[in-house]
C-alpha cells in the first residue's frame, strides 16, 4: 500500500490543538437518559410490523421454513423473467429449493448482482422495531444486493428484532461489524424521493419494493 503525501496534516492538527486551548463556554451536561428522549418499545414485533407499513415496506410473518419457502416462491414467480440474485447462505439455500430449475438463480459466491437482475434475496444482521428497519452489512450478499435490483427480499427470524436504533448499533459493535464488514446499513423502506414538489415517489435509484419474510421460532 502506497503511503499518501499529507503535507497539511500536522499543520491542521496543530491549529486545532492551538484553537482548543481557549475553552468554549460550557453547556448543561446534566445526563439525558435515552428513555427520556424515546419511549421504550414495548412490543417489538407489533411495532416492527406497524413501522414497516409506515415505511411502505411489505412484511409477512411465517410459522416455519416450509411456509417461508412457499412465500418466497410466490413472490418470485410473480416477477418478470430474469435473473434472481441470492445470498449464498444455508438458510437461503433451504428456502430457495423449490425454485431450482424454475427460475434462473445466481448465488453471491458467483459475484455481484447484475444490473438487470429482477430481485435479490438476502439475510439481515437484525431488524429494528422503532424504525421498521433492516440492519444489513456486506455479509448480507454484498453492498449492491440491497440497492441494485427493483425488488429486495429479506429473510430473517422474529428473534432477530431489536427494540431500537441504539440497540441495533450496540449489536453492530458486539458483532464486531465495523472491523468485519466494510459496509453496514440501516434500510428503512424502498428507495424514494420527494425532490419534485415534495411529492413522494418510490423507486428513485434503488428498489421499488422491499419485502421482509419474518419467521417465528
Amino acid at each position: 500500500m502506497t503511503k499518501i503525501e499529507n503535507p497539511s496534516r500536522e499543520h491542521i492538527l496543530d491549529r486545532i490543538r492551538e484553537a482548543l486551548r481557549a475553552p468554549a463556554p460550557p453547556v448543561d451536561m446534566t445526563p439525558v437518559p435515552l428513555e427520556e428522549i424515546f419511549e421504550p418499545v414495548a412490543d417489538p414485533l407489533g411495532r416492527f410490523l406497524a413501522e414497516c407499513q409506515t415505511n411502505l415496506m411489505e412484511a409477512v410473518v411465517t410459522a416455519n421454513t416450509a411456509e417461508s419457502a412457499e412465500r418466497l416462491a410466490g413472490l418470485l414467480t410473480a416477477l418478470p423473467e430474469g435473473e434472481i440474485f441470492l445470498q449464498d447462505a444455508p438458510a437461503i439455500r433451504e428456502i430457495a429449493k423449490p425454485l431450482e430449475g424454475k427460475r434462473s438463480l445466481r448465488w453471491s459466491t458467483e459475484g455481484a448482482p447484475s444490473e438487470s437482475c429482477q430481485a435479490t434475496v438476502t439475510l439481515a444482521e437484525a431488524f429494528v422495531a422503532q424504525s421498521g428497519s433492516v440492519l444489513s452489512s456486506s455479509s448480507c450478499g454484498g453492498r449492491g444486493a440491497s440497492v441494485v435490483p427493483p425488488t429486495h427480499i429479506v429473510y430473517g427470524g422474529v428473534s432477530q428484532i431489536v427494540p431500537d436504533v441504539t440497540a441495533a448499533l450496540r449489536l453492530v459493535n458486539e458483532k464486531g461489524l465495523p472491523e468485519q464488514s466494510s459496509y453496514v446499513g440501516l434500510i428503512s423502506g424502498s428507495s424514494r424521493t420527494a425532490d419534485i414538489e415534495k411529492i413522494l415517489v418510490q423507486g428513485a435509484h434503488g428498489p421499488r419494493r422491499l419485502v421482509v419474510i419474518l419467521q417465528r421460532g
Partner: protein, 474 residues
C-alpha cells in the same frame, strides 16, 4: 458595499415581491412543517433529544484533534486513505490528481455541500471528466447550471412543469408529462447508466464516527448507496467538524437529522462505510479515500464564542424556519450555505469583507434557534458577526458618524425630544407634499415598497404626561 452585498440587495428586491416564487416555496414549506410536526411526535421528549445532541456535539468539537486521529487510525488500518486538506485548492488538487492517475472519465457524485463549497465539480470538468450529480434535486439544478437552492432540497424552487420542460430540453425531447413518478423514472434510467460506467464515486458524509472509524451517509434515493458500491474508487469529501464520538450516538442523531431535515422518522438508507471492499466480500470499491477539509474551520474553532457554529449537522431546519429565507429565497444569498446558518458561517469561512451584509439579513426573530436540533444559538452568532462587521470599519464613515449622532441624541431627554419632534414634523410634511416614496423622502428605504408610516402628532412622553391618571396608594 461589496459586490456580493450589492448583488444580494438587487436579487432580494426582485424575489421578495415575486408571487410565483412565494407560492412554490410556500407549498414546499407547508408539507415540510406538517411532516416535521408528525416526526417530532415520535419522540417522547424532543427537547431532551436536542439537549443530548448539543452535549454530544460539544464533546466532539472540543475534542476534535483526538477524535479525528482516532477516526483516521481506523480507516488506515483497513487500507483506506485519509487526506487532510488545508483549503479548497488542496482538496480539489488531491481528488483531481487521483482521478487523473486512475484514468477516470466519468464521476458519479452523491449530494455533498462540502464539494459545492470547494468547487470540486468544475475542477474535475476542467480536466475533461464527465461529472454527474445523482441526487435527483442536485441533478436537476446541475442540468440548469445553477447552484442548489437549498442544502437539503436543492430544486425546491421548481415546479413539476419547470422540471418537465427542463428534461424535455436537456434529456429527451419526447417527454410529454409532468407526473413526478414518470419524471423520476427518466432520471433513474439516465443515471443508472452513469452509475455503471463511472470509475469514481464521490460522496459527502453526514457524520464521521470516531470510535468505529466509519463514515455515515444518509440518502433516501439510494444514490449514495450506488455511488459507494458500484464504481471501483470511492472518495469521501467532508468537513473536519462532522465528527461524533461514538457509533451509539447515531441512535439519536439519525432520527434527529431525519426529523429536522425532511420530517421523516429516519432517512431510508442510513449507511456506514469503514473502508474499501474486504477480502471475501461480494462487491465494493477497491480503493477508499477520505478527504478531511479544513478550509477556514480551524479558524472558526479558535473563536471560543463562535465555536458552536461547528456543531451544525446541515439539516436545513433553520432555512425553512427563517422568514427572510422564505421571502428572498435560497439563490439570493449567493453563498454555498444560505439562510441563518449560512449567514453565521459564510462571513467566518469566506471572509467578512465580502459578506458583511449577511449578518443583517435577519430580523433576529429567533425562529432558527428554536428549530435547531443541536441548539445552536444562531441569533447570538448573527449579532457577534454584526459586531465583527462594526469593528472592522466596513460600514464606512457616514454610517459610523450617523450612529455617533444617534447615541449623542439618545443620551439626553431634551435632545431626544427635540430630534423626535423634528422628525415627526418632517414625516408629516413629506406626506402632505405627496413625496412619500420619492427620492426626496428620507424614509425612502421603507416607503419604497410600503405605505408611509403614520406620523403621530405627539410623542409618547407628551401623551403620558397628559393622559396619565395617578393612582393613589390605598
Amino acid at each position: 458595499m461589496s459586490t456580493a452585498a450589492r448583488e444580494f440587495h438587487r436579487k432580494a428586491a426582485e424575489k421578495a415581491p415575486d408571487l410565483v416564487h412565494r407560492q412554490v416555496i410556500q407549498r414546499n414549506m407547508v408539507s415540510y412543517d406538517i411532516a416535521v410536526d408528525k416526526a417530532k411526535g415520535r419522540f417522547r421528549d424532543w427537547q431532551a433529544g436536542r439537549r443530548r445532541a448539543q452535549q454530544i456535539k460539544w464533546e466532539a468539537i472540543n475534542n476534535l484533534d483526538k477524535l479525528l486521529e482516532q477516526f483516521e487510525a481506523k480507516i488506515l488500518e483497513r487500507g483506506g486513505h485519509v487526506f487532510w486538506a488545508a483549503d479548497a485548492q488542496e482538496a480539489c488538487k488531491y481528488v483531481v490528481d487521483l482521478a487523473r492517475r486512475r484514468g477516470v472519465k466519468t464521476v458519479v457524485k452523491s449530494k455533498s455541500m462540502v464539494t459545492e463549497e470547494i468547487l470540486l465539480s468544475p475542477a474535475l470538468e476542467k480536466e475533461g471528466m464527465q461529472v454527474w450529480e445523482t441526487d435527483l434535486g442536485e441533478w436537476i439544478v446541475q442540468l440548469r447550471h445553477e447552484p442548489p437552492y437549498h442544502i437539503v432540497t436543492p430544486a425546491m424552487h421548481l415546479s413539476r412543469q419547470d422540471i418537465s420542460r427542463l428534461f424535455r430540453e436537456k434529456v429527451d425531447p419526447t417527454i410529454d408529462t409532468d407526473d413526478p413518478q414518470k419524471l423520476v423514472a427518466v432520471a433513474r434510467r439516465f443515471l443508472r447508466r452513469a452509475f455503471f460506467v463511472a470509475e469514481m464515486g464521490i460522496s459527502g458524509a453526514n457524520f464521521l464516527v470516531a470510535d468505529a472509524g466509519m463514515v455515515a451517509i444518509s440518502t433516501n434515493e439510494g444514490n449514495a448507496r450506488l455511488t459507494t458500491s458500484v464504481p471501483p474508487l470511492h472518495v469521501v469529501v467532508t468537513g473536519i467538524e462532522k465528527v461524533i464520538p461514538r457509533l451509539e450516538n447515531l441512535g439519536l442523531f439519525w432520527p434527529l437529522l431525519a426529523t429536522s431535515g425532511t420530517g421523516q422518522p429516519i432517512i431510508t438508507y442510513s449507511t456506514l462505510i469503514g473502508g474499501p471492499r474486504k477480502a471475501g466480500e461480494v462487491d465494493g470499491p477497491e480503493e477508499f479515500h477520505v478527504v478531511l477539509v479544513d478550509n477556514g474551520r480551524s479558524r472558526l474553532l479558535a473563536d471560543p464564542e463562535q465555536r458552536e457554529i461547528l456543531h451544525c449537522i446541515r439539516c436545513g431546519a433553520c432555512l425553512n424556519a427563517c422568514p427572510v429565507y422564505r421571502n428572498i429565497g435560497g439563490h439570493t444569498y449567493g453563498t454555498i450555505y444560505p439562510g441563518p446558518i449560512g449567514s453565521v458561517l459564510t462571513p467566518n469561512l469566506a471572509g467578512i469583507e465580502e459578506f458583511h451584509h449577511l449578518p443583517f439579513a435577519s430580523s433576529l426573530c429567533g425562529a432558527c434557534r428554536e428549530v435547531c436540533p443541536v441548539r445552536i444559538d444562531l441569533p447570538l452568532h448573527l449579532l457577534q458577526n454584526r459586531r465583527k462587521v462594526a469593528e472592522s470599519g466596513i460600514p464606512g464613515l457616514a454610517e459610523m458618524a450617523g450612529f455617533k449622532v444617534w447615541s449623542w441624541a439618545m443620551m439626553s431627554p431634551q435632545r431626544y425630544n427635540f430630534f423626535g419632534a423634528l422628525s415627526r414634523m418632517g414625516m408629516r410634511m413629506v406626506k402632505a407634499l405627496g413625496l412619500s416614496g420619492s427620492l426626496l423622502d428620507p424614509m425612502r428605504p421603507w416607503t419604497k415598497y410600503r405605505a408611509a408610516l403614520p406620523a403621530p402628532r405627539q410623542s409618547f412622553r407628551e401623551l403620558w404626561r397628559k393622559q396619565r391618571v395617578v393612582e393613589k396608594p390605598e
